[in-house]
Symmetry: C2
Subunit: 671 residues, 2 copies
């Protein structure tokens, strides 16, 4: 049987939601994406109890346990994926991250500590060093014989890496570098492995040769031997944190520490034995961004970890929500299941849709990353695209993960607060993801600058006619909106049933148009405001930019939303027709509608939606999409394919179900 729902075309029919049956195995495989095999292997490893986080474990024991777990990772071989074949690696950059992102299931501390060791410390040697460094250092890094640090951030400079104050000054008389920390703000800070386990570090410093500063470069620096810090090196423990307490973050400082000339990781800048600096990249700015470009790997892996953590949180909350009961059902002799409450659906199902969207977006991001880093498609332009995409998705995914985890935690009430059910501590662990590896707010400004740049390119070399035409369009649009004509026209067309007015928004093409138009218009509006900047002195130009900083960040965020929605849409489009596709289409609609609802004020102000259509959106979410998706909520989280060894939260592995059955039996006995 099929039922006809409200539709712009009377012929369109949807099957009744209850009659659809998800093939969770097939959907699960699809969700595992391009690196399904690697991900499955990594998940199998995460099921082993010795890999699990022990909630509430004291910090010293937790740190020791995570170090031991790194050893298991070495044994499992996954750490070889990213490294070059010359040193026994497998040169599979995409696979490497697909492996790494899953470790969040075991313990986010493990994910990040292994990220420090192989994704940052090891990757810096690989990407910034040359063959001699690979041969000398990578084997010890890969085998964990040399646990190490990625010593870039300083107490005084986080996101602004170009301004770090540590110096590496070339001493022509001895032929080595003098590494030095000039003041307290220049201490390296928040450095994983620095407090306890790091035997060496890649240290970023201003490279000064013959009195000239060539900007930030990286050196390989031994830190500790069996007796502790080497001479001239000191540091301290960062102490307890809001989460990730399995990692020994700490501070490091250097007092005139001598580093051999060969230890400069010299792929993008070297000093020869005559003390002459040279670089394959002439522009200092471009060199800096090339060196920093290696950081993109970290950002991509955080997107993956955020997606996996979101899957975990949704799995726990939905599995609890479909068995937990509270408050009697009027007129019935039982209590109502939480997920049958509309508010509970509103809390969880849009977040579930977002977890799906992120999962698909990560697979696309990872493919692009793999193409660039495997050399398949490694052009300057593709690198820039990758960096922009990662700079957009890292904030999107990490903030979404916090929102999803917090929503899940609150949906589980007091149970959600117990560490055994993992949600509250998962929030603590993931919290720092939004400010490290590039503060989200800073990354979104990078994205915004790129969007503005692309926009400006449209007018590069444009003759006066084009420009005038563009301006006329702009003015015309403004006049159009201000007069409310478009809105009014829509109102007239909409007059009548909700059905007709929602019809327009429901199609994929309309969702795309609304989301795309928003990015485009926001960027154009800001560009318009910033136009005078090119003629202003730098302070005033900066002040003008700052006046629109919040709008810039909003525009970048809306771009990220569009990209993620597109990834979800691609994924649905590629599926074969069937029940899975139908349910995922609804889920994608829920995702798209939630975005449009969130920015409804903008669509109304800009005349893109009539008040009538805008109101119909909430109605459609609450009374169509949520009820259609509710019967499939459990299948949708089951499709994430997480095993009990991944979930581990007692409320989501049968305990609550048993309690409810026992309570029902008791009540029946009473009656």
């Amino acid at each position: 049987m099929t039922v006809t729902t409200e539709s712009p075309r009377a012929t369109e029919k949807f099957p009744a939601s209850e009659e659809l049956q998800l093939d969770t195995a097939a959907l699960g495989e699809y969700l595992l994406g391009r690196w399904a095999e690697v991900r499955t292997r990594a998940r199998a490893l995460c099921e082993r109890p010795e890999m699990w986080k022990i909630e509430g474990q004291p910090i010293p024991e937790h740190r020791a346990r995570v170090l031991e777990q790194l050893g298991h990772l070495v044994d499992a071989g996954g750490v070889l994926l990213s490294f070059p074949k010359s040193v026994g690696g497998k040169a599979d950059p995409g696979g490497n991250i697909a492996n790494f992102e899953q470790l969040v299931l075991a313990d986010p501390s493990l994910q990040i500590k292994s990220g420090v060791q192989w994704g940052l410390f090891g990757a810096a040697v690989m990407h910034l060093g040359t063959e001699k460094h690979h041969l000398a250092f990578l084997p010890g890094i890969m085998s964990l014989e040399t646990p190490g640090c990625f010593a870039m951030t300083e107490t005084g400079h986080g996101s602004d890496v170009a301004s770090i104050a540590t110096t590496a000054t070339y001493d022509e008389t001895t032929g080595d570098f003098i590494l030095h920390t000039p003041h307290r703000g220049a201490w390296k800070d928040y450095i994983g492995n620095a407090a306890l386990h790091g035997k060496a570090a890649v240290v970023f410093a201003q490279l000064i040769v013959r009195g000239e500063n060539h900007g930030v470069h990286a050196l390989y620096v031994p830190l500790r031997d069996e007796k502790g810090f080497l001479p001239g090196i000191g540091g301290e423990d960062d102490g307890p944190k809001g989460g990730l307490n399995g990692i020994d973050n700490g501070r490091l400082h250097f007092t005139n520490v001598r580093v051999p000339r060969e230890n400069l990781l010299d792929r993008y800048g070297s000093v020869d034995d005559q003390g002459v600096y040279s670089s394959p990249i002439e522009s200092r700015g471009r060199r800096f961004f090339t060196i920093l470009g290696t950081l993109v790997q970290g950002r991509v892996s955080l997107v993956g970890a955020a997606a996996v953590a979101s899957q975990l949180a949704m799995t726990i909350a939905v599995k609890y929500g479909v068995v937990r009961r509270q408050f009697p059902v009027p007129g019935a002799d039982t209590e109502q299941v939480l997920l049958d409450y509309q508010q509970h659906q509103r809390r969880l199902l849009p977040r579930l849709a977002n977890a799906y969207a992120m999962t698909f977006a990560q697979d696309e991001l990872l493919s692009i990353f793999h193409e660039v880093f495997s050399g398949e498609k490694d052009t300057e332009e593709e690198r820039q695209d990758l960096e922009t995409l990662a700079a957009a998705l890292k904030p999107y995914a990490t903030w979404s993960a916090l929102d999803i985890i917090q929503g899940a935690r609150e949906s589980c009430g007091g149970q959600g607060y117990l560490a055994e059910n993992r949600l509250s501590t998962l929030h603590g662990d993931m919290d720092v993801y939004v400010t490290f590896e590039g503060d989200n707010t800073v990354l979104l400004q990078l994205v915004a600058k790129r969007l503005l740049g692309d926009y400006a390119k449209q007018f590069k070399g444009a003759d006066f006619g084009t420009m005038a035409g563009y301006l006329a369009d702009q003015v015309g649009e403004a006049a159009f909106n201000r007069s409310g004509l478009r809105r009014l026209a829509q109102n007239v067309a909409d007059f009548g049933s909700t059905a007709r007015s929602i019809g327009y928004v429901r199609s994929t093409a309309s969702q795309r148009q609304l989301l795309t138009d928003r990015v485009h218009t926001m960027v154009a509006d800001i560009a318009d405001h910033l136009k005078p900047a090119s003629k202003l002195p730098p302070e005033e130009a900066a002040a003008l930019m700052n006046k629109h900083q919040a709008a810039l960040i909003d525009a970048a965020w809306s771009h990220a939303e569009l990209v993620v929605w597109e990834a979800f849409t691609h994924a649905v489009d590629r599926m074969e027709e069937g029940d899975n596709k139908q349910v995922l289409r609804w889920l994608r609609d829920l995702h798209g509608f939630t975005l449009i609802e969130k920015h409804r004020d903008w669509y109304l102000m800009k005349g893109r939606l009539s008040a009538h259509r805008a109101e119909a959106i909430t109605d459609y979410i609450n009374h169509r999409l949520l009820p259609r998706l509710r019967p499939h909520a459990l299948e949708l989280v089951d499709s994430f394919g997480l095993a009990e060894g991944h979930i581990r939260a007692p409320i989501a592995t049968g305990e609550e179900h048993e309690r409810q059955e026992e309570a029902r039996a008791y009540e029946k006995g009473l009656a």
Copy 2:
């Protein structure tokens, strides 16, 4: 000098923000509110190092420390405030909470554990017991000789207290009660003091006398002696949590435990020596709500604690934001202070405004609480008003606190994640506030029901004419909005400068009108949708209610927003003219505008704001209010009056300032 800003009346002038100077001492005193003296005394206690939370302290030590701190509270005498004079107390319910809410500055675990002991366990004996119980039990409770539990919540029933399954069955043969836990879901759970320290408990159970269930009542039950649990009693530790790990939450169960008849806390229901049940409140429903009414004290104190935690978070983030620099200022030889970035202002200043709003709202709530609980104005109606107000403000304050703390934490980057700077762990501690003492979502539904009830009263006994008139109004309004006439009229009036269109919104009366109208209209809309419910069978009526559950919760939330905004406005109105009042007026405007901006979609859809005015709101926030308030941000947090011993975060007590000075001096030496 004064500058003229855009204004509906050309004569209105504002002083330039830079020329205003806050009197932080006077403002501080004002913020301390009606119970300034009690609050000052409590804060002095919180400055003592032995009262401080030690971040990262292992759980067993933390629990022991907090128990010891409870002893210091006894010594300080503040715990006497709430108790009756008959047992040496001071019978000052408002003062008691003013004292208690401040403890969050020392350690939220201390606040909540003392809340368990005196605010729940002690208060239950006081409010639900009678003279004999006061004399027998309160002295031991007040002196901490008897640490105890408030054993209401069960694993299977949290918010739905009426459905708890623990039974207390009167045994006529022996004249005592048999306390029994029938199944696993009926274990008492999340109970503070249950895992370790509790020697007694007030246990809530279904009271069964002669086969009849009289509903939930409370009994005083001894739990442990020196050797551990008494016979028939068992339990377990809830283990680590997302925060508040200084409290030994645990589970309790009872297997046919005999409790003497006298231990029934019998103010609202007693069993005489003939085994006959009687109660001064005939209606079982009303009796239940009266017994539960004592919980309001806990909710009021959480509002206070949330306000104080918000003050703390804002103090840390603003003090860091005004000294921390990042990224060079173009055209200058220095770096930009974080709070000079527009986005940083947007992140922190509306949250600062909200912290102010909550502080004022708490003082109003506390006054009403005091009047009811001191007996000054203790009528049924006033009690209901108090309960509704607390049910609205508890969700508002606790969710706002999480938002404020998280915003503060992210604004401090990596520093914000270190436990020493307190923000990330403060989030963990406060997280559970949104789901305990009445889940926020459930409380908001109580508020919504009250709003609907009040609305319905308007039509009680209304004749057909009134009703028809009302319906005509409704229909008229809908037609009016749908046709967009009101919007169009506004557009015409607005045509011209932004100034003219923002003028309307800026006045206090307009903000009030917009916020009030929203609550009123939302409630009316829902009432309209729910009208058929009275004629439906219970299941269908419940289903209809559920269809509008999200809207109900939104309406209740908007009511809470209005109440808090009103409290802020009253507080500003009561101030003498001067710089303090001018700056607080702007801060209140920022608060009001932020609310209107947040719900802009609603105002647009309902035709209350034109697109043009709606756009001007963001512009006014970003380009008028934020720049005006920026120069006063530090004074505004200084006015909270928190001492170094309360703040304790190194980044907010001078360390960052020193680092910046040192770095500037170093850079100057380089130049």
